[in-house]
């Protein structure tokens, strides 16, 4: 007997006197089974991976739009620039700017991590996890420092 179904036991593969390695792989129940995508346990590396995309999109859309608006307003004169600073100083504006500062640092640190990984390094589970946690700690810390400086020291 050579033909085996998925549900059959491993022993049945050997019944014909031949070991069928492909069938062994498919029918050996002791091999780890991949759970569905949505029931993976979240880890820092997964969070940092998706944050890299989200912060990148935020910087590309909101960040560049605000940079362009800022330059337009600067070129237009003091009235246009007053409109910009008024929007930037509004609570919503501040929330967006602080959020973009964090997105900038998160994307920057995570980007450095990706460049290191592109070289083939830092794939070991422990190292990878540590670097992932460090990008989050670093981005929050740097964002806090920048805005504490702007509000505390400079203001």
């Amino acid at each position: 007997m050579v033909k085996t179904g998925l549900g059959e036991s491993r022993e049945s593969c050997f019944e014909g006197g031949r070991a069928l390695s492909a069938h062994n792989m498919a029918t050996n129940r002791s091999r780890p089974l991949s759970p569905h995508l949505t029931i993976w346990r979240w880890g820092p590396h997964m969070l940092v991976s998706i944050l890299h995309r989200m912060t990148g999109a935020a910087l590309a859309i909101a960040g560049l739009a605000i940079l362009t608006w800022w330059l337009l307003a600067l070129a237009d004169g003091s009235d246009a620039y007053a409109t910009f600073t008024k929007a930037a100083g509004h609570p919503v504006g501040l929330f967006v700017l602080i959020g973009l500062t964090w997105a900038f640092f998160q994307h920057l640190l995570s980007g450095i991590r990706h460049l290191v990984m592109d070289s083939g390094a830092a794939f070991e589970l422990g190292v990878n996890k540590t670097f992932a946690i460090l990008t989050i700690v670093g981005s929050v810390l740097l964002t806090a420092l920048v805005w504490l400086y702007l509000f505390g020291v400079r203001a």
Binding site: R53, G56, A57, L59, A60, L64, A65, L67, T68, L71, L72, L74, A75, G77, S78, Y81, F104, L108, G111, I112, L115, D118, V146, Y149, L150
Partner: protein, 131 residues
């Protein structure tokens, strides 16, 4: 494999992926990311080191080549990197070929248009009469 088949394993699979191309795109994204590492930190540090962030101070700052040139580079490289990155997101999540083409076209126009607008504004500041 017949005896007459001299193609390598790599040669057999080349071109069979979903993207058909992309090596240059991948490398450009990395190169621009390294440039933006420096340009991004330069912009943030400059803004933090300026004594004030009013219009006159900023215009005076951007009229000097030492600020206008990195700012021009930041605009060009920044919009390019944003376009490359957004294309990866669109290519990954938009499966309908028509929608994907339309979104990639929209992104390209937005990036080139936005970049041109930002560069033109910088030119007005850098080459304009003193504020």
């Amino acid at each position: 494999m017949s005896l007459g088949d001299s193609s390598t394993p790599l040669g057999k699979v080349r071109g069979l992926g979903s993207a058909q191309q992309g090596g240059e795109h991948w490398l450009t994204e990395r190169m621009t990311s390294i440039a933006l590492l420096f340009l991004g930190i330069w912009l943030l540090a400059s803004l933090l080191l300026l004594p004030k962030l009013d219009q006159q101070t900023l215009v005076e700052w951007l009229r000097a080549p030492s600020a206008a040139v990195p700012m021009a580079l930041l605009i060009v490289v920044g919009f390019r990197h944003a376009l490359d990155g957004m294309k990866v997101i669109v290519d990954d999540y938009v499966h309908d070929e028509g929608n994907r083409f339309a979104l990639n076209a929209l992104l390209l126009f937005l990036a080139v248009g936005g970049g041109a607008l930002a560069l033109f504004s910088l030119g007005r500041i850098a080459f304009g009469a003193a504020a």
